[in-house]
C-alpha cells in the first residue's frame, strides 16, 4: 500500500482531502494493471505473430480463414466480410486470449474515466483554489534536491485527465473492432494501456521530474505503437525516427529543468511558481529556460523544426494515430506550457517565440496538407497545423484558449482519425477481396464512399466543419477564441510592448493573426478536399472491389457517434461572452472560470491592462473567420473535380510548386542531406574505423590483451626449467637479502 500523506501548501486541510480525490493514484494504476494483465496474456498466448520471425509467409494466397473465431457476437455480417478486412499485413490467426483482452483493455480505461468523473464532481463541489497535492514517497533525496513521487490535482490536470481517459476509452473500444484479427491483439492493448498510464503520470505529476517520467514514457509507447507492425521495415524506421527526433526535444526539457534547479533550487510546480519571479521578469535567464522548455514542446507536439516525425508516425495502426498522435500525447507540449505559464508569462520574448513558431507551423503544415494523397497523412499535417494553433494560443498568453482548442481538437481529430480508420477498414476489405496490392489509404483509390459508408461520411463531415471553424461546431469557438486573443493582445499587453528580433511585438501579433486566418482558410480547403475525394464523386476503387465496401460494425461506429456529439457540443465548454445575442444558450466561459485558479494570474500578467477589444470589432473578427472558413469550403468544392481524378496507379507526378508541396518542401530530404548523411559518414569513417576499430577495439581491448601477453611472455622466459639457474637465482636472492639486512 502506498504511503499516503496529504501535504497541503497551507497547514489547514485541503478542501479535497477526505473526498474521492484521495483515490487519484488509482487513475494511472488502473491502466498500468491493464498493461500488466494484457502483457502477460500476450506472452501466455504467444504463437505465430509479428513477433515470431518464423511467421508463415503472408496469408494472402487466399486461404479461407476458417480457423478464425469471431469474437463480436450478435453481428453475423462481421463473420465473413470483416474477417478479411483487417489492417494487418501479417498472419491472421486470432489471438487465444483476445476475448479476455477485449474486456480488460478498454475496461480499465472506462473504470479510470468513471473515477475521473467522480473526482471531477468532487472538485466541482469543493472548488479548490490551490492544487491538491498527494505525496507518496521520496524519490530523489540528494542534498538540496528533494524530489518526491507526488501527484498534483488541479483544474488543469483535471481537464487533461478527462480528455485522456474519456477519448482514450472511446478509442480503446474502437480498437476492439479495428484490431480484431491482428495476431498482436493483446500486445496492442497492453501498449495502449501503458501509454495511458504514462500520459496520466505526465499530467498528474506534481513536479517536473515526475512529469518527465510520463513525458519519456509516452515517447516510448509512441515508439512501440508506431512500429507495432515491425515486420515492415518502413514501420520500424518510422518508430525509430519518432523516438530519435523526440530525444532532441527531451534534451531541451532536461536542460530547462537543470537550469531551474540551478537557479531557484526547486522543481515542483508549487515551488517554482512561487519563486519564478526571483528569476526576474523578462530576464535573459527566464527566457532561456522557457526556450529550452519550448524545444521539448516542439519535439513532443510536432512543431517546427521537430515536426518531421509525426507524418511518419502514421505507420502505426489508425487508433494509435487517433489516441497518441492527435488527441493526447502530442498535446503534452501545450499542457507543459500551460502548466509552466508562471514561467512563460515572465518572458514576453519566449512567449512571442512560441506564438510565431506555432503560426509558422500552422500555415506550413496546412500547405503540405493540400497536396497529400494518403488520407492519414492529410490528417497528420492537419494535426500539426492545429497544434500550431494551440501554440499560438498559449504563446500569446491565452492559456485557456489553447487548452480549449486542445480539448475540442481531441474530440474532432479523434473523430476524423477513427473515421479514416473506418474508411481504411472498408478499403482493406475491398482490396483483400481481390488480393490487390493497391494502396488502401490513397484517396485516389477511394471516391464515392458515402454510398457504402453513410454513417462515417456524415460523422466525418461534422468533424470537418468543426475543424474548418463553422459555427456552431466546437472548433469554431476554440479557433476563434485563439485568433481573438491574438488580436486583443496586439495592443497594450506585455507582448505588444516587447520586441522580438527587432520586430515590435504588436506588429508581430498582427502578422500571427494574419497567418492564423490564412491557415484557417487552408484548413477548410484541404479538409474539404479530403472529404470530396474520399466520399464524393465516382468510386475509383474498382468494380469488383466495390462489392466488399461496407460500413464498420457498431463497436467501431459507436465511439464515432459519441465523439461526433462531443464535437458538436464541445463549444459549449467555453462560449464567448461576445456571442450572447447570437447563441443565447448556456453559461459563458465555463472553462475560463474553471482554469482561472491555475492560469488566471499568468494571463493577467500578460494582458497587463490591455484594453478590451470593442464588441463590434470582436464580432467583425468572428464574422471574418466564419466567412474565410465558408469561402475555403466553397473554393474547394468549386475548384476540385473528384470526377476527373485518376486512380493512384495512373496518377502523374506534380510539377513546379505543386510538386515541391507534394514532397513536403523536401524537408525530409534536406534533413537527410544535412544531418543524417553527414552523421552516417562521420560515423562510418571516424567513429567506426578510427574510434571504435582503432581506439576502442585496437588500443584498449586488444591492447590490454597484448600487454598481458607480453608480460606473460617475459615471465615465461625466466622459467627455463633448468635447476641450476633456479639455484643461482636463489643464491643471488639470499645474498641480496642478507646484504640488505646487513647494510641497513
Amino acid at each position: 500500500m502506498l504511503l499516503q500523506s496529504a501535504v497541503s501548501a497551507a497547514s489547514q486541510l485541503h478542501p479535497l482531502s477526505g473526498t474521492i480525490a484521495e483515490w487519484v493514484w488509482l487513475l494511472p494504476i488502473l491502466p498500468l494493471a491493464g498493461f500488466v494483465i494484457n502483457g502477460l496474456l500476450s506472452l501466455a498466448g504467444a504463437h505465430f505473430g509479428p513477433s515470431d520471425p518464423n511467421t508463415p509467409a503472408h496469408d494472402d494466397a487466399g486461404h479461407p480463414h476458417a480457423d478464425r473465431v469471431v469474437f463480436v457476437q450478435g453481428d453475423p455480417q462481421i463473420t465473413h466480410v470483416e474477417a478479411d478486412a483487417e489492417d494487418d499485413h501479417h498472419g491472421v490467426k486470432r489471438h487465444r486470449w483476445a476475448g479476455a483482452v477485449s474486456v480488460v483493455g478498454p475496461g480499465v480505461l472506462i473504470l479510470s474515466f468513471l473515477l475521473a468523473l467522480g473526482i471531477w464532481q468532487a472538485m466541482v463541489a469543493a472548488n479548490p483554489t490551490t492544487p491538491f497535492l498527494q505525496t507518496y514517497f521520496s524519490w530523489m533525496p540528494v542534498g538540496d534536491l528533494q524530489i518526491n513521487t507526488a501527484f498534483q490535482l488541479d483544474q488543469l490536470s483535471m481537464v487533461m485527465i478527462l480528455v485522456i481517459t474519456g477519448v482514450g476509452a472511446l478509442i480503446h473500444v474502437f480498437s476492439i473492432g479495428y484490431m480484431r484479427d491482428d495476431p498482436g491483439y493483446p500486445r496492442f492493448f497492453s501498449y495502449l494501456n501503458l501509454f495511458v498510464f504514462f500520459m496520466l503520470v505526465l499530467v498528474l505529476g506534481a513536479n517536473y521530474p515526475v512529469l518527465f517520467v510520463g513525458w519519456e514514457g509516452v515517447g516510448l509507447c509512441s515508439y512501440l505503437l508506431i512500429g507495432f507492425w515491425f515486420n515492415d521495415k518502413a514501420n520500424a524506421d518510422a518508430g525509430k525516427k519518432a523516438f530519435i527526433v523526440n530525444r532532441v526535444g527531451d534534451f531541451g526539457l532536461l536542460v530547462a529543468m537543470f537550469m531551474l534547479f540551478a537557479n531557484i533550487g526547486v522543481l515542483d510546480f508549487v515551488g517554482v511558481s512561487a519563486k519564478a519571479v526571483d528569476l526576474g521578469a523578462g530576464s535573459a535567464l527566464v527566457t532561456t529556460i522557457c526556450l529550452f522548455m519550448f524545444l521539448g514542446c516542439t519535439g513532443k507536439s510536432a512543431q517546427i523544426p521537430l515536426y518531421i516525425w509525426l507524418p511518419d508516425a502514421m505507420a502505426g495502426p489508425t487508433p494509435v494515430s487517433a489516441l497518441i498522435h492527435a488527441a493526447t500525447m502530442v498535446t503534452a507540449g501545450v499542457y507543459l506550457i500551460a502548466r509552466s505559464s508562471f514561467l512563460f508569462s515572465l518572458s514576453p520574448v519566449a512567449s512571442l517565440t512560441v506564438a510565431v513558431v506555432g503560426a509558422v507551423t500552422a500555415i506550413f503544415a496546412a500547405t503540405i496538407g493540400l497536396k497529400q494523397w494518403d488520407i492519414k497523412k492529410v490528417l497528420a499535417y492537419s494535426t500539426i497545423s492545429q497544434l500550431g494553433y494551440m501554440f499560438i494560443g498559449v504563446g500569446v498568453g491565452a492559456y485557456v484558449s489553447g487548452m480549449f482548442h486542445l480539448v475540442t481538437h481531441a474530440f474532432f481529430k479523434a473523430l476524423l482519425f477513427l473515421g479514416s480508420g473506418s474508411v481504411i477498414h472498408a478499403m482493406h476489405a475491398a482490396y483483400h477481396r481481390t488480393h490487390s496490392a493497391e494502396d488502401a489509404q490513397d484517396m485516389r483509390n477511394m471516391g464515392g464512399l458515402k454510398r457504402y459508408l453513410p454513417v462515417t461520411c456524415v460523422l466525418m463531415w461534422i468533424a470537418t466543419l468543426a475543424i474548418s471553424g463553422i459555427p456552431p461546431f466546437s472548433g469554431f469557438f476554440s479557433k476563434d477564441e485563439i485568433l481573438g486573443s491574438v488580436f486583443a493582445r496586439a495592443q497594450g499587453s506585455t507582448l505588444a510592448s516587447a520586441s522580438w528580433l527587432g520586430v515590435p511585438g504588436s506588429t508581430l501579433l498582427y502578422i500571427v493573426y494574419g497567418i492564423g486566418l490564412a491557415a484557417a482558410f487552408l484548413t477548410a480547403v484541404y479538409m474539404t478536399r479530403m472529404m470530396l475525394y474520399t466520399f464524393h464523386g465516382p468510386t475509383r476503387t474498382g468494380t469488383e472491389e466495390e462489392q466488399a465496401l461496407h460500413e464498420a460494425p457498431w463497436i467501431m461506429t459507436g465511439p464515432l457517434v459519441i465523439l461526433a456529439i462531443l464535437t458538436i457540443a464541445g463549444g459549449w465548454l467555453n462560449l464567448p461572452e461576445v456571442l450572447t445575442d447570437l447563441v443565447p444558450l448556456g453559461p459563458r466561459e465555463v472553462l475560463a472560470h474553471w482554469l482561472d485558479p491555475v492560469v488566471g494570474g499568468s494571463t493577467t500578467r500578460i494582458i497587463a491592462g490591455a484594453p478590451a477589444v470593442p464588441t463590434s470589432t470582436e464580432e467583425a473578427l468572428i464574422a471574418t473567420a466564419v466567412v474565410i472558413a465558408v469561402v475555403g469550403i466553397l473554393f474547394a468544392i468549386l475548384r476540385l473535380k473528384p470526377a476527373n481524378l485518376p486512380r493512384a496507379r495512373d496518377a502523374v507526378p506534380e510539377h513546379g510548386f505543386e510538386g515541391v508541396v507534394a514532397h513536403k518542401y523536401y524537408v525530409d530530404e534536406g534533413i537527410d542531406r544535412v544531418i543524417v548523411e553527414p552523421t552516417y559518414k562521420v560515423s562510418r569513417t571516424f567513429f567506426w574505423r578510427i574510434v571504435d576499430n582503432g581506439l576502442i577495439d585496437g588500443l584498449l581491448v586488444n591492447g590490454s590483451a597484448a600487454l598481458a601477453r607480453a608480460f606473460g611472455w617475459m615471465g615465461s622466459r625466466l622459467q627455463t626449467g633448468n635447476v641450476g639457474i633456479y639455484a643461482w637465482v636463489l643464491v643471488v636472492g639470499v645474498l641480496a637479502m642478507l646484504g640488505a639486512l646487513t647494510l641497513r
Partner: protein, 97 residues
C-alpha cells in the same frame, strides 16, 4: 675458538654452495647439498660447546631429516636416470615455461 669454528663451517658451506652452482651432475649436486647440511651441523655443535646443549638436539634432528632427504633424493635421481639415461641437469628441463 668460536670464531675459528665458524670460519671453518662457513668455508665448508660456501664450498657446498659453489658445488651446487657450478656442477651439472645431479649426484655431485646432491653430495654438495649434504656438505652444506654437514656444515650447518658443525655450526650447531660449535655453538653448543659455548652456549649449552640445545644445538646438539638440533644436530640429531638435522641428521634424521637429511637421512630421509638422502633416501628420497637418491630415489628421484635413480628414477630420472632410468627415464633419461643421464643425470646431467642440463638435459632435465621439463618445467621450462
Amino acid at each position: 675458538m668460536l670464531a675459528e669454528s665458524l670460519a671453518l663451517t662457513a668455508a665448508l658451506f660456501i664450498i657446498g654452495v659453489i658445488g651446487v652452482l657450478i656442477h651439472r651432475n645431479a649426484i655431485i649436486i646432491f653430495m654438495c647439498v649434504e656438505l652444506m647440511l654437514t656444515a650447518v651441523n658443525l655450526t650447531f655443535v660449535a655453538f653448543s660447546r659455548f652456549y649449552g646443549p640445545a644445538g646438539q638436539v638440533f644436530v640429531v634432528f638435522v641428521m634424521t631429516v637429511s637421512a630421509a632427504e638422502a633416501a628420497v633424493g637418491l630415489a628421484i635421481i635413480i628414477s630420472i636416470f632410468r627415464h633419461r639415461q643421464t643425470v646431467d641437469l642440463k638435459n632435465i628441463n621439463l618445467l621450462k615455461g
